[in-house]
């Protein structure tokens, strides 16, 4: 018989722990504080992490940051996918409807990540003394900056010319509950101010930190993030220097030509990688089967939406613009569904399954390799690369050119491409803008699928052209061009935020814009 009220103190036992259980565990074993740091990275690959709070919504495009990168890619001009109910990454701008699941995913994902970063900052001293605490704090600050940098580019146009426009609400570890529920959009300038101050501190805290894997933000990665921010703010010299520091500190070197002559970009172990999402076989995104980036994106998976034809392909005008001498031409199948990358005997099995198949279409990517390089592998446990040496090299080239030394920029660009991708490469227009445009083209090719192309269109204030000279391989319904800085290019702040945050009213949201229709802008 139970006679005392102790029976009323119930606690879960199992995969759920309460805050008290957590505190008890940490005080018994201080090393478990590292779990809070790991949580930042875990939140980037959490299955159904953005929407499961809403009636246990389990959307198959809700699998963390790699899913966001895919959303960014498919809303742009360089990546196409078939127009069918099985394409979770539609190219139709439907995510701009601020009560769409996608608009909620985008918003929640970044703020959930910021929450994880703020937790680490709350749990550590503002003036960290130990090397370990500095490393924790440095990672959290850099990680927070990474997230605000994304938000800033999605909810307002690029920094230059929009410094005083409303951006996104700022939450730090010091924000109180009262402030948070009445939290207006900070200006672009304010948001970048936070980003820069976080990154400056992060870089100093991360000095000497040797991470256990590339899953952690190292000092090199923090330099890389500051290079991105400076590029956006057009502080060219600083951008070039940060990119250089990122390369030097991380020791990362570009993938060699040989390395990218086979499907690749599937492991954080590559020399080029500075920062990546480490994804293990037992992570829920993998055990879910198909709700992960390879399931939607890697043409070689044996278990995913690509198996019903949801391949991600390159838009024909960009494909056509890649010279045949460039090894990267093989990252996509040609119009006869061939590529030297899959001519290898190793890929027979894959070809056997797909080659005569109707859903094996021209221009699908073969850039991203299968898990453990085994075509038709049903385990989708490839890492997702967040930052690599090539991007830093390209930032360096562009920033040098724009900072008044186009010659040096040209040299850096040519040096990289000639050695690693296309021996015949030259930059024809050696002016600063000429080099910048050459870099842009290289970014579109080199970083295709990795989540940069859309932001580049916004940063460079380019029109979004899915059709060039009448050529496009987008599905018929999605063939249109959009002028630079059209309102539809921005996302609208999620309806969930508008409803619950007294600091942002409906009228303070980005304007409603109609979804483009086939033929618009042509």
């Amino acid at each position: 018989m139970y006679s005392c009220t102790d029976m009323l103190d119930t606690l879960p036992a199992g995969s759920t722990i309460t805050s008290e259980q957590k505190e008890d565990a940490v005080s018994a074993n201080p090393k478990l504080l590292a779990a809070d740091v790991n949580t930042m990275y875990a939140s980037m690959i959490k299955l159904f992490g953005a929407l499961s709070a809403y009636d246990d919504l389990e959307r198959h495009n809700d699998f963390g940051y790699p899913g966001i990168a895919l959303m960014l890619e498919t809303t742009g001009q360089d990546m196409t996918c078939f127009n069918s109910g099985y394409n979770w990454f539609g190219g139709d701008f439907a995510d701009r409807k601020y009560d769409s699941y996608e608009s909620w995913i985008l918003w929640n994902q970044f703020y959930n990540q910021i929450y994880a970063a703020n937790n680490v900052l709350s749990a550590t001293s503002e003036n960290p003394s130990s090397a370990l605490e500095k490393a924790y704090r440095g990672q959290a600050l850099a990680f927070r900056a990474f997230n605000y940098l994304h938000l800033a580019q999605m909810y307002q146009f690029t920094y230059i010319g929009h410094e005083n426009d409303p951006c996104v609400p700022i939450l730090t570890e010091k924000t109180t509950m009262d402030e948070a529920v009445n939290n207006p959009r900070a200006s672009v300038k304010t948001v970048y101010g936070l980003i820069m101050s976080d990154l400056n501190l992060a870089i100093s805290y991360l000095k000497g930190f040797i991470p256990a894997s590339k899953g952690f933000i190292s000092q090199g990665a923090a330099y890389g993030l500051r290079a991105r921010a400076n590029l956006l703010m057009q502080d060219w010299e600083q951008a070039a220097s940060d990119a250089d520091s990122a390369l030097i500190v991380s020791g990362a070197v570009p993938y060699t030509k040989k390395e990218v002559s086979v499907p690749s970009f599937n492991t954080a172990n590559a020399n080029s990688v500075i920062w990546a999402n480490i994804i293990r076989e037992t992570n829920e995104v993998v055990t879910s089967g198909i709700v992960n980036w390879p399931g939607h994106f890697c043409s070689f998976t044996g278990n995913g939406y690509v198996n019903v034809g949801a391949f991600k392909s390159i838009n024909k005008p960009l494909y056509d613009a890649i010279p045949t001498s460039d090894v990267r031409k093989g990252w996509w199948l040609n119009e006869n569904k061939q590529s030297p990358l899959v001519a290898d005997k190793k890929y027979d099995k894959w070809k056997e399954t797909y080659a005569e198949d109707e859903n094996f279409t021209p221009y699908i990517n073969v850039k991203f390799g299968a898990y453990k390089d085994l075509p038709m592998n049903t385990v989708n446990s490839q890492d997702w690369i967040l930052m690599r040496a090539e991007e830093m090299t390209l930032i360096k080239a562009e920033a040098l050119a724009m900072s008044g030394d186009p010659g040096q920029g040209k040299a850096v660009l040519e040096g990289f491409v000639k050695e690693n991708r296309d021996a015949t490469f030259t930059v024809t227009d050696a002016t600063d803008v000429g080099v910048q445009n050459a870099v842009w083209k290289q970014r579109r090719i080199e970083l295709w699928g990795e989540g940069f192309a859309y932001f580049d269109v916004l940063r460079l204030k380019k029109p979004l052209n899915r059709v060039e000279n009448g050529v496009s391989s987008f599905p018929d319904a999605w063939q249109y061009n959009i002028p630079a800085e059209s309102p539809i290019l921005l996302w609208r702040i999620s309806s969930k935020e508008i409803n619950a945050n007294a600091g942002i009213s409906e009228s303070q949201n980005n304007p409603v814009a109609d979804v483009p229709k086939k033929g618009d802008g042509l």
């Binding site: 139970y2 029976m7 009323l8 103190d9 119930t10 879960p12 036992a13 199992g14 995969s15 759920t16 722990i17 309460t18 008290e20 957590k22 779990a35 809070d36 790991n38 949580t39 875990a42 809403y54 078939f82 069918s84 109910g85 099985y86 539609g90 439907a94 409807k97 009560d99 918003w107 959930n112 994880a116 609400p169 509950m177 948070a180 529920v181 939290n183 480490i278 992570n283 055990t287 089967g289 044996g302 278990n303 198996n307 019903v308 005569e356 109707e358 859903n359 049903t378 018929d476 319904a477 999620s494 309806s495 969930k496 935020e497 619950a500 945050n501 409603v512 109609d514 979804v515 229709k517």
Partner: protein, 1039 residues
């Protein structure tokens, strides 16, 4: 004078049914002379002297005094009316007359009529104030019961179930409905405040049967029947040609209405019609002469087209999936036997039952073996002990995904069969058109995944739910034990103590596998999952009661007690991939092992007290109090106080009504009180909770649930008043009540800015009122010796109003397509308003509120869905719901009919919206409702149905266009029986034989064919296991 001794013969029969009464005692008044009627009810008695008055008596009958006459017939009236009805209430029973609260009872005869595997399915329409929501019709699944509306936004609205006095958290389907003596629904505070923390949504007391006859009675019942779908599909297209033409039109319009020439549009439509990668359908199922197109420039199917298209090694021929997947002959069989009686100081009831309900689709169904033993024994004059033990073993084939409320699951057979275009093959056929069988002997189904057959089906490709259901396993095997032990002690006169101890133990093993041959898991070689769940609950209460009458006019009853409840649920789960064979066991598979386990506990405890007082049986007062604690809350906010007060007045006992002989009972009653609700779904809602996950071979703890330390009870304040009456010689009885149930400190998830990193926080805030009137009537319409007709009807008029929301919300809160607003109902949608079709372009229009510079608001019609304004729809809940029915008996025949209805509400018809799509790419391959044939065309501008156009993404997006009346009338049950004349049976020692036919879920009349408004309060989609129509015949024998 000496009178000769005379012998008089006669017969004793029942006044009710004219049946002979065997064993009635016939005595000469004032003497010891007597006899007993024989098997034919006849008696012969000798009379001497002048005393010619006979006293005829029989158990359960009113004793009659009659004057002896030759060949007399004595009619004995049942004395049921004499025994005052005893009502099962919290922690005991009470006389109906002294009850001050609101309760309604459904008796075993009404329950047994229904072929319910779950008693909750028998309650709809039977009791005023009770609504059954039927979202899942799978065998064994129950209804969600709502008593007097919805009082809570997020916390549970489910009533507390109490089985034989013990709170029950188990599966109601484990209780065999034939073991149930009565179901009592306690609706107001006076009746359920003693259930404190868990009584706010009403209490359903299930009482199982006991023995009641001195001779052991043996009942045997067997029935066999057939299941079929209870609700048909919507009026969808069944002609493949029509479907192709319609989709062609949508593609054509996307160009032609965009200014392209008809020639360009025609080319475009033909080019994309079959191209699944470009918004087309993926399959061609017609053959057309070489070089000709499927659809001609007139938009019509090529007249040369013949159904069936052979390409390579396959033939493509469409199937009507709906007809293929719903099985035709689904046996339902049920056998029950029970033996009950009293033997000296012992009362016993034992039963065994077997049910096999095969559902309506393959591999679904419930088979259940249930047994019960209910015994009590008067061990000493002062001590009675007893136990009531039940054991149920069930095997439930419950195919995965058939009840999901996510209508996008490709594994949901109901959804797919209802919504798939009539052009797609279900089976794979070889070049000769024969359905193919694989080397395992399995029928080959078309998955539309481009693998076996080189075609991609644009609707739910990569899946074939019919095949998945045939080859996947999803089996629950449950062992459920429910036991109660009690001891009642008479301490002194009027003072009694009792101890009750209840245990619920359920072990459930779930074997779930996805087959290695076809479908999504073919490439991984299948997956085998096994899950074990153990639930264990202990409830104990110790009660002291004292009842005393003073001076013959004051009656006092007092109860005091303590109760505690502890519940534990433990889970163990494991899986592996790549199965050797299709056996759903983990050891049959070899790769990617994964295991998990967890334990949850929950407990409550409370002290309770009740006092009753009545004065001369005329004025009744009652009061109750319970102090209760729940583990769901922080120690500082754990304890709550719950109470009630009630008053009853038997008005017909007053002198001013005494001579109104037509009034048999008139009682006024009134009660008020407070009950609690602690069920927010999470057992530890006051704590932040994290998931322990692996990140890069180390720990990470991601936030799983944001708790709130200040969380406490949701309280429901309940006012009830009304009259119980019985009039015209008890020919019309009933209850009319007004109730007002106000829930305050509502447990709900307050939406917070997702920028916080989480999106909601559990809080106690706001208030909702459910107020209304309930009318319950039952009458003896006609009554004669041979023919008796009774009827019942009930109605509940209910209004749900939000009284208060959290202050920061400023009086309203928009949650997606719902709006919660002070003064409005909880079921208030927030939708765009459909403004009809733009006559010139055929585009859908919605209203937009435009405010000019002077602040004047006007409504503008816009074709941009994104810029249209959302409006509240107003209350969707029905104004009135209830049921009615009748029972007729004529000689040995009996018949009954039961209906349920609802009026005055609205419901969002999800399925209809889905079936009225524009042809937009993600809808390609989804069937159309035939209403789409009324779509706008340049020739048909006068219509409400927008154009077909594959560019129109939002045509069927949520708007009030798809709100439809939720009125319905459902024919719940018809029973027809014939009881064989007992004189035929006597020589076989059989007491009673009844043969009967019973039909459940016979018909549903709603606003639209296919729509089932019983599924939910606010939105319907017919994509869950469809309600089953069962028609059975059976025989019931009593010895």
């Amino acid at each position: 004078m000496v009178l000769a001794q005379t012998s008089i013969s006669g017969k004793v029969i029942s006044a009710e049914d004219g049946e002979e009464i065997v064993g009635a005692t016939v005595m000469v008044k004032g003497t010891t002379t007597g006899t007993i009627t024989n098997v034919n009810g006849n008696f012969t008695i000798s009379l001497s002297g002048t005393n010619r008055t006979l006293v005829v008596s029989y158990v359960g009958m009113k004793t009659a005094e009659v004057l002896a006459t030759p060949n007399m017939i004595v009619r004995l009236e049942s004395d049921a009316a004499e025994l005052e009805e005893v009502l099962v209430v919290a922690y005991g029973t009470t006389k109906r007359s002294s009850f001050t609260g609101s309760a309604a009872v459904v008796k075993s005869d009404a329950i047994e009529k229904r072929q319910a595997s779950n008693v909750t399915n028998t309650l709809s329409g039977q009791i005023a104030g009770v609504q059954g929501i039927n979202s899942d019709g799978a065998p064994g699944s129950g209804s969600k019961i709502r008593i007097r509306g919805i009082g809570s936004m997020y916390a549970s609205n489910a009533p507390l179930y109490v089985v034989d006095g013990i709170p029950y958290d188990g599966d109601i389907s484990a209780i065999n409905t034939t073991d149930i003596e009565s179901v009592t629904v306690l609706k107001d505070a006076a009746s359920n405040a003693l259930y404190g923390a868990r009584g706010a949504n009403g209490v359903i007391m299930i009482t199982t049967k006991k023995g009641n006859s001195r001779v052991a009675r043996i009942n045997v019942d067997a029935k066999w029947g057939n299941n079929s779908r209870g609700v048909d599909n919507y009026s969808v297209m069944t002609d493949p040609g029509m479907y192709y033409e319609t989709h062609y039109q949508a593609l054509y319009n996307s160009q032609f209405l965009d200014g392209k020439t008809s020639h360009v549009a025609h080319d475009f439509a033909n080019k994309n019609l079959l191209d699944a990668a470009n918004g087309g359908l993926g399959y061609q199922v017609y053959s057309v002469p070489a070089g000709e197109r499927l659809i001609g420039s007139n938009g019509k199917l090529n007249p040369q087209a013949t159904l069936g298209y052979t390409e390579g090694q396959f033939t493509y021929l469409p199937d009507i999936w709906y007809d293929e997947v719903f099985k035709k002959n689904n046996l339902r069989q049920e056998y029950n036997i029970n033996i009950s009686g009293t033997e000296g100081k012992m009362n016993y009831y034992m039963s065994a039952g077997y049910l096999d309900d095969t559902g309506i689709i393959e591999n679904s169904g419930l088979s259940r073996l249930s047994t019960r033993l209910n015994v009590d024994y008067q061990a000493r004059e002062w001590l009675k002990v007893g136990s009531n033990l039940s054991y149920t073993n069930s095997k439930n084939r419950y195919p995965d995904e058939q009840t999901t409320d996510d209508d996008t699951s490709s594994a949901n057979l109901f959804f797919v069969a209802n919504a798939i275009a009539p052009i797609y093959p279900l089976y794979i056929r070889d070049a000769s058109g024969k359905i193919m069988i694989d080397s395992n002997g399995y029928t080959m189904y078309d998955y539309g995944d481009g693998a076996t057959v080189p075609k991609i089906r644009s609707f739910m490709g990569m899946s074939n739910p019919a095949s998945a259901i045939a080859l996947d396993n999803s089996i629950y095997a449950d062992d459920i034990f429910n036991g109660k032990w009690f001891a009642n002690i008479d301490i002194t006169e009027g003072l009694k103590a009792s101890a009750n101890f209840g245990v619920y133990a359920a072990n459930s093993r779930y074997n779930f596998s996805l087959n290695p041959y076809y479908g999504q898991y073919a490439s991984t070689g299948g997956v085998a999952n096994v899950e074990h769940n153990r639930k264990f609950a202990v409830n104990q209460n110790y009660l002291l009661t004292y009842d005393k009458e003073f001076d013959g006019v004051h009656n006092v009853g007092v109860l005091a007690g303590f109760e505690s409840y502890a519940y534990k649920s433990q889970n163990l789960w494991g899986s592996k991939e790549k199965m050797y064979s299709n056996t759903p066991e983990i050891s049959n598979a070899i790769l990617n092992p994964s295991t998990e386990s967890s334990t949850d506990t929950y407990s409550t405890m409370g002290f309770l007290a009740r006092a009753n007082y009545d004065y001369v049986g005329k004025y009744h007062f009652s009061a109750s109090y319970r102090r209760d604690a729940s583990s769901r809350f922080h120690p500082d906010h754990r304890w709550g106080n719950f109470w009630s007060g009630g008053f009853g007045w038997i008005m017909n006992k007053e002198s001013f009504l005494e001579d109104q002989s037509w009034i048999n009972l008139l009682k006024f009653k009134m009660s008020y009180g407070a009950q609690g609700n602690d069920d927010l779904g999470n057992y530890y809602a006051y704590l932040d909770q994290y998931s322990v996950v692996m990140q890069d071979d180390d720990f990470a703890t991601t936030l799983k649930y944001k708790g709130n330390k200040d969380l406490t009870w949701e309280t429901s304040h309940n006012f009830n008043t009304g009259f119980d009456f019985s009039l015209f010689a008890d020919r019309l009885g009933g209850t009319i009540e007004y109730f007002s149930r106000t829930t305050s400190d509502m447990l709900y998830y307050k939406p917070v800015s997702p920028s916080l990193g989480y999106s909601e926080l559990p809080v106690n805030v706001g208030s909702v009122r459910n107020a209304g009137v309930e009318i319950d009537l039952n009458g003896k319409v006609y009554s004669s010796r041979d023919l008796k007709i009774t009827a019942y009807a009930n109605a509940t008029l209910l209004k749900n109003t939000i009284l208060e929301l959290e202050e920061s919300l400023g009086g309203e809160w928009i949650d997606g397509s719902y709006i919660y607003k002070k003064g409005s109902s909880l079921m208030n949608r927030y939708l765009r308003k459909y403004a009809g079709v733009d006559k010139e372009t055929g585009a859908s229009q919605w209203y937009k509120e435009v405010t000019d510079s002077f602040g004047n608001v006007t409504m503008e019609k816009v074709t941009s869905y994104a810029s249209a304004t959302q409006f509240e729809t107003g209350d969707l809940l029905p104004d009135v719901y209830g049921g009615f029915g009748t029972n007729v008996t004529y000689k040995g025949f009996d018949a009954s009919v039961a209906f349920a209805y609802q009026l005055g509400g609205k419901i969002y018809d999800n399925t209809y919206a889905r079936l009225m799509h524009s042809g937009y790419s993600s809808d390609a391959g989804t069937n159309w409702h035939t209403d789409i044939l009324k779509a706008w065309t340049p020739e048909n501008k006068d219509t409400d149905v927008p154009r077909l156009n594959t560019s129109d993404q939002y045509t069927s997006s949520a708007s009030d266009r798809f709100l439809v009346s939720s009125n319905y009338l459902s024919l719940q049950n018809i029973t027809i029986g014939y009881t064989l004349p007992s004189n035929l049976l006597k020589k076989y020692n059989i007491e009673k034989v009844r043969i009967y036919g019973v039909a459940d879920n016979l018909a549903l009349w709603a606003a639209r064919k296919g729509l089932d408004p019983r599924q939910s309060y606010s939105a319907s989609g017919n994509y869950t296991y469809s309600p089953i129509r069962s028609i059975s015949g059976g025989v019931s024998i009593s010895f």
